[in-house]
Symmetry: C2
Subunit: 105 residues, 2 copies
Amino acid sequence: MTPDVLALVSSRFRALGVPARLEILNCLRAGERTVSELVEETMLGQANVSKHLQLLHATNFVSRRKDGLFVYYALADESVFLLCDLMCGRLVAESEARQRLLAAR
Amino acid sequence: MTPDVLALVSSRFRALGVPARLEILNCLRAGERTVSELVEETMLGQANVSKHLQLLHATNFVSRRKDGLFVYYALADESVFLLCDLMCGRLVAESEARQRLLAAR
DNA sequence: TGCTTCTACAACCATATAGTTATATACTGT
DNA sequence: ACAGTATATAACTATATGGTTGTAGAAGCA
């Protein structure tokens, strides 16, 4: 585990460590979207969405396709959701553990 | 995807978004460790390690066990490494894609 | 009862970055 | 060429947090 690898891996986790970006990725789950569509769907500011998309693109989570005035963003691959599902699975497990503790009292 | 869930999931990704914490988790892969052992292995400051461990414990990535003067930390479960392996898989795929681009020139 | 060691915590500083505002850039249509 | 629209970018603020230093608290031992 060299420092470079550690830095790379952690930067990818950090890319998913912001609610706004998870929301954007979740929107893209339904298919590619233009920036303005994402702005509308997420209620975030245009510049804000644009910045998040730059980062998600730089970290290879989304791909881009320009068509005239519009830029279409899409999920680079499905592995993002494997990650999210794993993380959600952890949360469910925690919540169940809490339930068991409550029930045991 | 409610804001609460988004906040929870993103906070867990954020927990893995710091090189120092990945390093600590990596050390724990070999088995449980005391704080001072982790300090020695990672070359991080004691207070720093302690703070990271608090966060990793609060986010259920590690468990703790106190024995006399020492506190032993251990991985809460193996799913952390599923996450890391997935993320590393992404990096490998990216790197291979870059290689292909270079080779194609 | 001290004295030592291990861990946690508080207070602080420095830095990274999320979000906003304003503007620049790129493209389309008239 | 000009006007309008979509996206990106620059500049800025506010905030969160990683790391450090110093200290407090807990447990063992003389």
